[in-house]
Amino acid sequence: MTKTSVLESDTLMPSANPIILQMQSITKEFPGVKALSDVSITVRASEIHSICGENGAGKSTLMKVLSGVYPYGSYDGEIVFQNEVCQFKDIRASEHAGIVIIHQELALIPELSITENIFLGNEPTKFGIINWDEARLRTIELMARVGLSEDPDTPVKEIGVGKQQLVEIAKALNKSVKLLILDEPTAALNESDSQHLLDLIRGLKGKGISCIMISHKLNEIEQVSDSITIIRDGKSIETLDVKADGVDEDRIIKGMVGRTLESRFPEHTPKIGEVFFEVKNWTVRHPQIADRLVCKNSSFNVRRGEIVGFAGLMGAGRTELARSLFGRSYGHYISGQIIKDGKEITLRNVPEAIKHGLGYVTEDRKTLGLNLLDDIKTTTVAANLDAISKRSVVNLGKEYEVAEQYRKQLRTKTPSVDEGVSKLSGGNQQKVVLAKWMFTDPDLLILDEPTRGIDVGAKYEIYGIIQALANQGKGVIVISSELPELLGISDRIYTIFEGAITGVLNKSQASQESLMKRMTAAKKSA
């Protein structure tokens, strides 16, 4: 692995550093569930400590205990921070002690400026009047520390997710943080923003700030962590010293799933047929900005039984392309053709797209893919209600049967199909969404980041489902930010840069480097 950071400080020996945090025998119960059982973790000063575990293993619960979201008394066990026994009654108390948690969903207010966000709830005042000049000066100082160069008066909604993440960290630094907790910090970031963030965390480590990181991106964990605690089924399994133990991704996965996964992708021999779906010169403009094209003259095709990958950096226009094809649910259509089974088709809206055999699994399950108020059976039939209805009356018996059938087929872990989808883990939610689209019996299924926020074991199962769909002769398009995933699952990969398709590689030709070159190619030539 190449070390790109100049900030990294190898001079500090983490294992020799004093212990800053000890969580001992933490047990936390919810009605009917033991979320954490006798979990212990030790974090040293100037250390990056990662917590790994599958979804539902108890990572977030542990962090909520630590940060006071679950107040003292609602759990058993002891927290010792900087040699003091802590009994946080809320988040303010833990922040006061120097523990700041940055959640996966950022807690910034989009309409407020960077300065206002950083000082929110913590405004520098004189006689009750906010001293904005001082706030602004300190913001500039803090932004310099996190490597952000923006006007401090810029509203947060106008900067990208990557920079918003930096604002969050600046906000934490302003609270004189000793221990920073990052929950999936790079989940929504592209490659270069992620790298910048990781470099920053390493830099902070050099300045004596410890960090606890939760991430599903094992390569990042391997890259930055000093030690790793693995949690499985609410119990702490082991703590690894990354350097001393020579930890790699496979070692982490083994700890997380409790066994060695022979392969991260199921064995699959593609049965590829004829081209049946073709897009020609697809051009779409941004929904608000009139002169901005989000898809530029894109052409591609999909064959029966083929899994086609779409690689591109965040914001390259992958999702925009998919959604504009799926019944023009994004942007303004300008020109281009869709040809399916030799005939040109026009898809003006989503119902038409579904009728013509397209399915689209959204990248953001919670805000675009699911109605979290629904239960499993209602969700499963939601995109094809007519199939179980007669004269608009839904047949509840059939609904139950269909949902049961998919639950068994996809091995969704749930007590029953009457369970609310909000109570499922990410992987199982994704299975329900897949079931919803499988029930529409599509010819072409577009999957947008199908494994985001899903743990390793469930990913393997999702890949298996995708391959099974392809084996039935369906075409599958997989959009993903994780190149190893695309390389592992796709038969062919298109690369997209700034709305244009920049290349296509067969599985045998493709590598991370060759893809990355095409995903950024235009940038270099420009």
Partner: protein, 422 residues
Amino acid sequence: MNAIKQLFGGNTRQFGMIFALVALIVFFQFMTGGVILTPDNVINLVNGYSYILILAIGMVLVIIAGHIDLSVGSVAAFVGIVVALTMRDWHLPWYMGIVVGLVLGALIGAWQGFFVAYVGIPAFIVTLAGMLLFRGANQYFGKSLTVPVPTDFQFIGAGYLNEVGPDTGYNNLTLLVGFIIVAALIWSGLRNHRKAVALGADVKPLWVTITKLVILCAVVLYATYLFATGRPGTSFPVPGIILGVLVLAYGFIAARTTIGRHIYAVGGNRHAAALSGVKSKRTDFLVILNMAVLAGLAGMIFVARSNASGPSDGVGWELDAIAAVFIGGAAVTGGVGTVVGSMIGGLVMAVLNNGLQLMGVGSDMTQIIKGLVLLAAVVFDVYNKSQGKASFIGLMMKKLGGRDNPDLAVAEPLRDAVRTES
């Protein structure tokens, strides 16, 4: 306690409201020396509140879809005056008057629905404008005067089931209706149980189904007795029949049809619904349109009951309807609510009003108490969720009794504190 949990599905608030309703009735029965459960009073109650309950049927759908309708009182008044005027000046027969009223309601609904669904103006604004607009229109066309309606039209608001057949000492038609309802309840209850068993779904034990049926039938039979023994000439009122038919129809539409599913889907997550092929704009349009039609109907029933249409008919109705819906378990954020729940919510308000009146409490105190009840109902619900007791009944029941009010419906900000790790 477990047995009680088994008996009542549905969400906590709805469950609580059934108890509150029973408790209120018992309380007033005691305080008024038995007046509240006399035939005359019960008949009055139905007559006096059926139009609010009809509004609540439309309102719960609007609120499930994530909107609100403030214009219903004004729409009702406007439809009322137009119907009264057309019957007086053009000598339309009563049934044509009703057709005019329903069509006018639909036109108003289409007007408001167009702005909400296709122009994208929040329903709060559109219907606030409608509230002013149609109130003004009522007073403009009616010249702020009271316009009487013909006697045969008054039947829909003040009529009763006729006396037919032999003199049994009871109103025979009312008895018949009561018996039909009991038979239907038993038939559908047992059928649903058998179906659930056949499917192998989570089934309540048979004794639960039977106990539930026995209680329901007893309530229906007692109500039948009350309605059938009213003063001579009175029996089960026509507005009550209209209401009953509508509750059945809309309850079915909401729970069992594709359009009902679409309404819940749009209210629960608009984007997800649209990306699943739901025509969300059309759904919004239909929901708002339907509300105005029902408002028109409510207006006509009120006019028929009070023999005339006036300039201040329907003032404040929107608030009564909205309160009924929220007391009945709907979520402010949309996606949650039931027609039956809203009826219970409406009845709580109605019994409260009626009971306090019978006790001689002034309208000042009555309003204060009603306000506190509305607040308490929602606070009770939110508090329960924030304590992690998402629904102490629902948790056991796994929502067999219709749509649950899941953890995150009302108490969105408390969501993280409540749910276990996702």
